[in-house]
């Protein structure tokens, strides 16, 4: 017994004496903390933000988006619409994959077809829906491809900004599984060195990348689930960038000698979907009352450190189709009470709201309190995201008067990306079918998404915004910011599309 006790203690001392490796990062390494890793490095086979953030630094798409949200050439050097349903893309010449092979039109065609899987009923890729409108990919000549859509598809370019081009021959050689884990090859600025699941993804600069070399030779994505841990790592230099910093952490990171924050408005809108199928929100005046009841400005100032902006509807300023002439509902308790009385509830009414936005629990509770003050006596029910919440939705959100949530538009800067999921009532839609019942709205949304005449679309979306401002199928709340915590050793700023495009990161002087 004593002998092995001695052995153990010797082991422990050895452990304590070992050099500290983490925390001591080289100057040529940029380390980013993510809450988790996506299940695969294959850019087509997952649907997760944490995966997208890694993929964009390893793969290029046909188009890129600048930090100012403009389309930029990437693997396509130019593009134009030949007709309502045919787009032409000129491909960049001499682009190398990480395995040294040259990207060809064949690779581009293969990339699309591996997601579209023409001819098969069962689709493997969860991204199929994003590009399902593409009917055919035609190679015109080695430098030119045509994308044909089944009907006019105004969102095509948006969808191409995150659609990585992958190497056909390489994938056919190593197989899908290896491609997603150990043999991932793209054309992006960094190539894969090593992926230890839930630990780190280590990338190294690709010296034949067509943009040139990135400033940091190594790029590491560590998986750190706890916010407190990520913050501690940032302060001690173990990581250089952390995401989704909450308002309560801001003062700490602002005042710490080695950290700073970078914040920018993003395309995420907060709302309460009101159930228009049942009382009290089947009455327009009751829904308007709910909109007047919320003091959006003080919530943004007091609970979000000012990092947000109230919205008139769910269509946000950076999105195509936004109409600035539509004004937000002002905060007016008296008006809210009057409207509620008009709806037939002079003595108020009991309602229940649900949410799975666990990070926003205080805000959700404050919303319930403000409703209660005008007579919409609210019970708030918070759910864990995941199975239970999911079950709630599958039961078509029964036993609810509304749901508080937020929608990130998948970073697609177009009014359709928020209007369709939130308000279209077709069975295949997202949550609109459970809540919204605005007459004529479905038809307008359909019209907007099936035209490529941008001027006409703009008019349609202006009509829609006026319509939903009046009909109030939701309580329109605010947009939020994305806030990064960044080491002072790194020059990088948050982007409005929440991307971490780290080719733009440089060591700070």
């Amino acid at each position: 017994m004593t002998r092995w006790l001695f052995g153990l203690s010797a082991m422990m001392f050895a452990a304590l004496a070992a050099p500290i490796s983490a925390g001591a990062q080289g100057k040529d390494t940029l380390t980013v903390a993510l809450p988790s890793h996506a299940p695969t490095l294959d850019p087509h086979m997952h649907f997760e933000r944490v995966g997208v953030l890694v993929n964009i630094n390893m793969f290029d798409s046909l188009l890129h988006r600048s930090a100012k949200l403009e389309f930029e050439p990437s693997l396509a050097t130019s593009w134009k619409a030949l007709s309502d349903t045919t787009w032409e893309f000129k491909l960049r010449r001499g682009v190398k994959f990480h395995d040294g092979s040259t990207m060809t039109a064949e690779d581009v065609k293969y990339s699309f077809e591996r997601v579209l899987e023409p001819g098969t009923e069962k689709k493997k890729s969860p991204q199929y829906g994003n590009i399902r409108a593409i009917k055919e990919v035609k190679i015109v000549d080695p430098d030119t491809i045509h994308l044909m859509t089944d009907k006019p598809f105004p969102l095509l370019l948006e969808r191409l900004v995150y659609f990585g081009i992958v190497p056909k021959k390489h994938i056919e050689k190593v197989g899908e599984e290896a491609f997603g884990s150990t043999a991932t090859v793209g054309t992006g600025p960094w190539k894969l060195v090593e992926w230890k699941r839930d630990q780190h993804i280590r990338l190294e600069a690709f010296d034949q990348h067509w943009r040139g070399k990135p400033a940091f030779k190594y790029l590491v994505f560590r998986a750190i689930p706890e916010v407190a841990t990520a913050v501690a790592e940032l302060k001690t230099g173990g990581v250089d960038i952390i995401r989704n910093v909450n308002a309560d952490l801001l003062p700490d990171l602002k005042s710490h000698p080695q950290t700073r924050i970078s914040t920018t408005p993003i395309l995420r809108v907060h709302y309460i979907s009101l159930d228009m199928r049942s009382a009290p929100f089947d009455k327009k005046t009751a829904r308007q009352a709910a909109n007047y009841a919320i003091d959006k400005q003080s919530m943004i100032q007091k609970m979000m450190a000012g990092l947000g902006k109230q919205v008139a509807t769910v269509v946000q300023p950076p999105a195509f189709g936004f109409d600035p002439s539509v004004q937000p509902y002002p905060y007016d308790q008296k008006k809210a009470k009057e409207l509620l009385a008009q709806a037939g509830y002079p003595n108020g009414v009991d309602i229940t709201l649900h949410s799975s936005a666990v990070d926003w629990r205080p805000h959700f509770e404050a919303l319930g309190q403000m409703f209660t003050e005008v007579g919409l006596r609210t019970t708030v029910k918070m759910w864990d995201p995941g199975p239970a919440w999911n079950k709630f939705f599958q039961a078509e959100g029964k036993a609810t008067n509304g749901q508080y949530g937020s929608w990130g538009n998948y970073s697609v800067f177009d009014a359709d990306a928020v209007l369709h999921p939130l308000y279209h009532t077709e069975p295949g839609g997202w949550i609109g079918k459970h809540y919204a019942r605005v007459e004529g709205l479905d038809k307008l949304i359909d019209e907007g998404r099936s035209s490529v005449d941008q001027a006409r679309r703009k008019r349609i979306y202006a009509d829609i915004q006026r319509m939903i401002r009046e009909e109030a199928p939701s309580v329109f709340l605010w947009t939020q910011n994305d806030t990064l915590g960044i080491s002072k050793k790194v020059a990088y700023e948050a982007r409005p599309d929440e991307w971490l495009w780290l080719f733009a990161a440089k060591p700070a002087n």
Binding site: E177, P225, T236, P387
Partner: protein, 304 residues
């Protein structure tokens, strides 16, 4: 011995089948994984994926298929990772087991000497101090201890890395955190079982034949007090594997607990099934090991 082993093996199989059935039922009752794989996709696209994953078949068919495959060690493809689930779990097991074993070792390293001290010098100030520490240790949640240790040793004093699992030094804080969860319990058991034997006749005999107190305690008293300690280690092992989940999250350790928690959130059935199955096996094996150690430590068990 062979009858004993056969009986154990039978129990083992029953446990495995039971565990699979329970996990399978709970998982399938808890919702639709496809809605989580494609949270913001159209229903038609979801239906397509649901079919591709074989989730549209009747539950009984799915369970039979699952058992048939599981018997061959094939738990199916992870819905999210799109790789076989079992190797994904096995890959992480060494980390979790390593963390758990380190924690147990550390806990024993502290608990045995202090427990003996408390027993030998019972009702002294030292004993009382140890009792207070025991109470404190048992009342603090693991994740809180973890974060506090991290703030002190990693952020304030910069002695150890904040998180990770890539060097010996990065293993210290997680092991201490998880160890602190069981140290108090081990200490109490050591103390009480030492107290039980310390005044028995054979110990007095050992003293009488002139052995030093040190030898009496370590060779004679502790040997017999070891039985309850070993039992508790066996029982605690399962709990510690559970505690490892929290520790793994706090310190970003890439263990099996984190994998399973993530999989439960996403309803990644194959991973959860493979993970729970493997953990069940390990716990059963740990208990088997305890039973065998019994025989070795206490000849009276063998005779019975």
């Amino acid at each position: 011995m062979s009858a004993f082993l056969f009986q154990r093996l039978l129990r083992f199989v029953v446990v495995c089948v039971g565990v699979s059935l329970v996990t399978f039922s709970i998982l399938h009752a808890s919702g639709d994984p496809v809605a989580l794989i494609m949270p913001e996709a159209a229903e038609a696209d979801r239906a397509r994926l649901r079919e591709a994953l074989g989730l549209t078949d009747p539950l009984a068919t799915q369970f039979v298929r699952f058992v048939a495959h599981a018997a061959r060690g094939d738990f199916g493809q992870s819905f999210f990772h799109r790789e076989p689930a079992f190797p994904l779990v096995v890959e992480r097991m060494p980390t979790t087991l390593g963390l758990t074993c380190l924690a147990v070792a550390l806990a024993l390293l502290i608990a045995i000497p202090t427990g003996i001290y408390s027993a030998v010098f019972r009702n002294t100030i030292g004993d009382h101090a140890a009792t207070v520490v025991v109470f404190l240790g048992q009342s603090m949640p693991v994740f809180w201890i973890g974060i506090m240790l991290m703030l002190l040793f990693a952020v304030q004093w910069r002695l150890l890395p904040v998180s990770g699992w890539d060097s010996w030094s990065s293993m210290v804080l997680p092991a201490v955190t998880l160890g602190s969860f069981t140290t108090p319990l081990f200490m109490r058991i050591v103390r009480s079982s030492m107290l039980e034997v310390i005044n028995l006749d054979y110990v007095r005999t050992a003293r009488a034949k002139g052995l030093t107190e040190w030898l009496v305690i370590c060779r004679h008293a502790l040997r017999n007090a070891a039985l309850p300690i070993v039992t508790v280690i066996g029982l605690q092992f399962g709990l510690l594997l559970g505690g490892a989940v929290l520790t793994e999250s706090v310190f970003a350790v890439p263990g099996v607990g984190r994998l399973i928690i993530g999989a439960i959130r996403q309803l990644d059935f194959p991973i959860v099934q493979a993970g729970v199955f493997l953990l069940a096996i390990i716990i059963v094996l740990a208990n088997l090991l305890v039973d065998i150690l019994y025989v070795y430590l206490n000849p009276t068990v063998r005779l019975r």
